[in-house]
């Protein structure tokens, strides 16, 4: 296998269009292997035709983001939970 991937932090801009928090610092759990870690540590492929975030442990797809004109599609079926630290 070769892996010309990027890091999860490359998702910060595209996800920043959707969310009011920085999701790259949130902790996600991989639905396939259960590995937990920050979204910023995912292996990211793309950006075209879409951003594909894969688990650094098992390489399964954790999230996908496609940006079209005037809309975006986010698929997070590969993520069980997303823990976001927030101020009280």
């Amino acid at each position: 296998m070769t892996a010309e991937h990027l890091d999860g932090n490359t998702l910060a801009g595209p996800l920043g269009e959707l969310f009011a928090v920085d999701v790259t610092t949130a902790t996600g759990r991989c639905a396939n292997c259960g590995l937990t870690g920050p979204i910023g540590s995912l292996h990211v492929y793309g950006p075209d035709p879409g951003l594909v975030g894969r688990c650094p442990g098992c390489e399964e797809v954790v999230l996908r983001l496609v940006r079209g004109p005037g809309r975006a599609w986010l698929d997070m079926r590969g993520t069980v939970t997303l823990r976001v630290d927030l101020p009280d």
């Binding site: 890091d7 932090n9 490359t10 801009g13 920043g16 269009e17 009011a20 920085d22 790259t24 610092t25």
Partner: protein, 241 residues
């Protein structure tokens, strides 16, 4: 926090770093400030409405409504030759950001820091060095900077000036200056063992550069006993220029 918006950015000045790289200074009214290590998206729009965007790391610390980017001109690139060769003071692009809260260093963090740069991967690490200096931080920093040869160094004068608490080592992969003790070559275990921190000090490690370089350097850090959760990486992918 707020959702990202595009802001107009006017070029106010630029300085060459090397024969092919240029630091661009923009004024961005409404800029919310940023952290060292964050990046921005830059959007260019042609007269006929065609537009395209690229990501660049911020090179400097927060400075009011000013931001600095260092851009390497990619041969036959679509965007970087425009930014480095054609754009003049007064011309505009759009910038949104800052983005990325993962690959960042905060001045209140006092742990030792190891910065490992491959080529233009120095840019976000330089923002950390400058932020440290500006904040008067006492966190000890070491930088290991791998590049083709002395002529390819960004920020060369600034990195050679004494900066208490910062140690810099240059590794040349192709061309070494006369009298250099280390032969030209890719980054090795000894480079990080000598130029970095012992794993026992528990430094925060930031590695930035092309994918192959980042893989190699991160593997070497793990081999030296650094904990994977203390190693943060930022790979430069194929940017399309």
């Amino acid at each position: 926090m707020r959702r990202l918006v595009w802001r107009a950015a006017e070029l106010v000045g630029s300085t060459p770093e090397t024969a092919t790289a240029r630091t661009l200074r923009f004024r961005v009214p409404g800029w919310p400030g940023h952290l060292a290590g964050q990046h921005v998206d830059v959007r260019l729009t042609a007269e006929d409405g065609y537009s395209t965007q690229r990501s660049y790391s911020l090179a400097g610390p927060a400075d009011g409504e000013y931001v600095e980017l260092t851009v390497e001109s990619v041969p036959d690139g679509e965007v970087s030759p425009y930014l480095t060769e054609i754009m003049e003071a007064g011309d505009q692009v759009e910038i949104r950001g800052p983005v990325g809260g993962w690959f960042v260093w905060r001045a209140e963090n006092e742990r030792p820091v190891l910065l490992v740069a491959g080529g233009s991967g120095i840019v976000p690490l330089m923002a950390m060095i400058r932020t440290r200096r500006q904040a008067g931080s006492r966190a000890p920093f070491r930088l290991v900077y791998s590049l083709r040869g002395p002529d390819w160094a960004y920020y060369a004068d600034e990195l050679r000036r004494p900066d208490p608490g910062l140690d810099v080592s240059f590794l040349y992969t192709r061309t070494v200056p006369e009298g250099a003790s280390r032969p030209a070559g890719r980054i090795m275990l000894a480079d990080l063992a000598e130029g970095g921190w012992p794993a026992g000090h528990g430094p925060d490690c930031f590695v930035c550069g092309p994918t192959g370089f980042v893989e190699a350097a991160a593997d070497l850090l793990l081999a030296l006993g650094h904990a994977s959760e203390r190693i943060r990486t930022e790979r430069f992918g194929p940017t399309g220029g």
